[in-house]
């Protein structure tokens, strides 16, 4: 479809079936994550997008099928080796009260440490760099619980970055953030991508996903219904089919991407005026 799909994928899944108890969430699903770009998984609530991310990150074990990381079965890799190749920011991380930003970000070095090697000069350098890249160096000695939601999310991304991997999985990094902070965080994600990281994330906000991703994975009821560049994937038919959302897809005035304009039941002016494009 696009050149992106032909890139060698470092991360992918082959025929994975994942479920909780007697409910199957992902059914025999194949996916390949193109290297060097931002891939965003979107879909309605309960479609299995977080489950897909959790499966790719090895938090969930598939009943059938395999997740492949650098060509090897991820289930056969040591937990620590996976952590050296792939950084993960789950949905609800906990910061103990009073923990400082520097201490939290420093924890990201854990996969590279051992009991006798707990704080090498490498660790200190990488952590300092991670703090700078995410713009939280000034906050290094502040307790995490004293920060705003947006700052806190930057700190967690900083920790993931300190892991020193160029493959990052982010599960809804903008949830609970107001729009300004969401943009701020996602701009940071884009910076990391510019710096050479491959990024896979789950987002709720469709327009943010369209604006910032090079590759969209659209899911519905545990299957992938479309994948590719937002300009090719996002159409009003797709939005209606997958999300049950009546919407118009127009050209974004500030980027070369599509823009989704939802049509609700109310506040819609006459049909002719709607035809903005």
């Amino acid at each position: 479809m696009t050149a992106l799909r032909n890139d060698a994928a470092r991360l992918g899944a082959e025929g994975v079936t994942v479920g909780y108890a007697d409910r199957v969430v992902l059914d025999n699903l194949d996916v390949a994550i193109p290297t060097g770009v931002i891939t965003t998984v979107i879909g309605p609530n309960g479609c299995g997008k977080s489950t897909l991310l959790r499966t790719l990150s090895r938090l969930l074990k598939p009943r059938q099928g395999t997740v492949l990381l650098d060509g090897g079965d991820i289930a056969r890799l040591k937990t620590k080796d996976v952590a050296k190749r792939m950084g993960l920011l789950p949905q609800t991380p906990i910061a103990p009260e009073g923990l400082t930003v520097a201490d939290l970000v420093a924890r990201g070095r854990h996969p590279h440490q051992s009991w006798v090697r707990q704080w090498s000069s490498d660790d200190a350098d990488v952590v300092a760099r991670a703090l700078h890249m995410t713009g939280v160096a000034d906050l290094a000695h502040r307790p995490v619980d004293s920060l705003s939601g947006g700052q806190r999310q930057r700190v967690w991304i900083s920790m993931t970055l300190a892991q020193g991997t160029d493959l990052l999985l982010l599960d809804e990094p903008t949830t609970y953030l107001d729009l300004a902070h969401a943009i701020d965080v996602i701009d940071l994600v884009d910076d990391l991508h510019e710096g050479g990281c491959t990024i896979v994330m789950v987002l709720h906000d469709l327009n943010l996903a369209v604006r910032y991703s090079d590759n969209l994975i659209v899911m519905k009821s545990g299957s992938i219904v479309a994948q590719g560049h937002p300009s090719e994937v996002i159409t009003s038919e797709l939005l209606l089919d997958t999300f049950g959302l009546q919407a118009k897809v127009i050209d974004d005035p500030v980027s070369e991407r599509p823009l989704i304009v939802p049509i609700g039941r109310t506040h819609v002016v006459s049909k002719s005026d709607q035809d903005l494009s």
Partner: protein, 354 residues
């Protein structure tokens, strides 16, 4: 990507060859002071008794240069009691720090793991019930109580096991099992002869009275072995404070780590109960106070052990000197621990309300 030239002030490293640790002056200082204080109180508790031995004489005796009389009083009469206090205190402090870390809850303590409840019920059964006396005579009250406590601990552990241990489920099951054990204890006490009840009550409060060297050595070795395991494995616990998913993302096999450390917590609490009886509140209070002293966001494992020892020996000293009737140590720890528990509860309520 541009990197700003100046780096933020990071933790200094303590580096020897390829080995390295974070250098945190304040926690190290506090830990050293705690250790010194514990040693001092330990010596004072040896010095004080029916007749007082001067502290310098105590030091001399401890390094083997004391006089005959002092040596007899100290080594044969007073040391075992103080050492048992030290061992039980360290065991309770560490056990509490592990339990609170794993449960991510400041109000969790090894009592929740079922050890105390099970040991108490067993001890009371042995003291009061007719058939129990035979078992008690054969293996000794402490050993029987320990066995009962460990069995209950494992019961809680296995009931909470469902593809790994979940902190919240563990606490719920532990609280229920503990309630059953307490009901059993009360029931046995109601049925029993009044003289037996007095004996049982004394054990139930926790006491350091009349300890022998045999008891000391057994507990000391078991505790030392467990402390080594905890010391090594606790490094893997650090990312677990951020939640299971983060820990897994950072390469920690959290299920296995949690299982090992919980087992250590159960066994350490068992060591303490068999040595000193179910001394209340030490395991709950020690990690919380140590956290505040060290300004640490999580319960510090080893320093909590030191503070537990300080608290237990100190309480025993108070019980023997300041209070009438030679009260058991558990009464004093309860007097200190009760208000602190209230403080923790009020504080967590305030935070939730804020």
């Amino acid at each position: 990507m541009t990197i700003a030239p100046e780096t933020p002030e990071m933790h200094r490293g303590l580096r020897v060859g390829g080995w390295s640790w974070v250098w945190r002056p304040w926690p190290v200082l506090v830990t050293v002071v705690l250790a010194a204080l514990t040693f001092l109180i330990f010596c004072v508790s040896i010095a004080v008794g029916d007749f007082t031995i001067e502290l310098p004489a105590v030091f001399r005796t401890l390094i083997g240069q004391g006089e005959r009389v002092d040596e007899f009083v100290i080594m044969d009469l007073r040391m075992p009691r103080s050492l048992v206090g030290l061992i039980a205190g360290v065991a309770l402090g560490i056990s509490g720090a592990l339990t609170q870390s794993i449960a991510r809850n400041a109000l969790a303590s090894p009592d929740v793991l079922g050890i105390t409840g099970g040991a108490s019920a067993t001890a009371v059964f042995i003291v009061t019930a007719g058939g129990g006396a035979a078992i008690g005579g054969a293996v000794g009250l402490s050993t029987a109580a320990l066995t009962g406590g460990l069995l209950t601990g494992f019961l809680v552990y296995f009931m909470a096991w469902k593809k790994g241990i979940d902190g919240f489920r563990l606490i719920l099951i532990g609280v229920s099992v503990n309630a059953v054990m307490q009901a059993l204890t009360t029931w046995l006490l109601v049925l029993a002869d009044i003289r037996d009840v007095a004996r049982a009550q004394r054990w139930l409060v926790g006491s350091l009275d009349s300890r022998s060297w045999t008891e000391v050595w057994a507990s000391l070795w078991i505790m030392a072995a467990l402390v080594v395991v905890v010391l090594v494995v606790a490094f893997q616990m650090q990312p677990m404070h951020f939640g299971d998913d983060v820990a897994a993302g950072l390469g920690v096999r959290y299920s296995a780590v949690r299982a090992v450390l919980l087992l250590c917590a159960v066994l350490l609490a068992g060591v303490a109960v068999s040595a000193a009886g179910p001394v209340p509140f030490v395991a709950l209070v020690a990690p919380q106070i140590t956290m505040r002293l060290l300004r640490s966001p999580v319960p510090p494992v080893m320093a909590s052990g030191l503070f537990g020892a300080l608290l237990l020996i100190g309480s025993d000293l108070i019980a023997r000197t300041l209070l009438p009737n030679d009260l058991p140590v558990g009464v004093v720890t309860a007097i200190i621990g009760g208000p602190f528990l209230v403080y923790l509860l009020v504080r967590s309520n305030l935070r939730r309300a804020a």
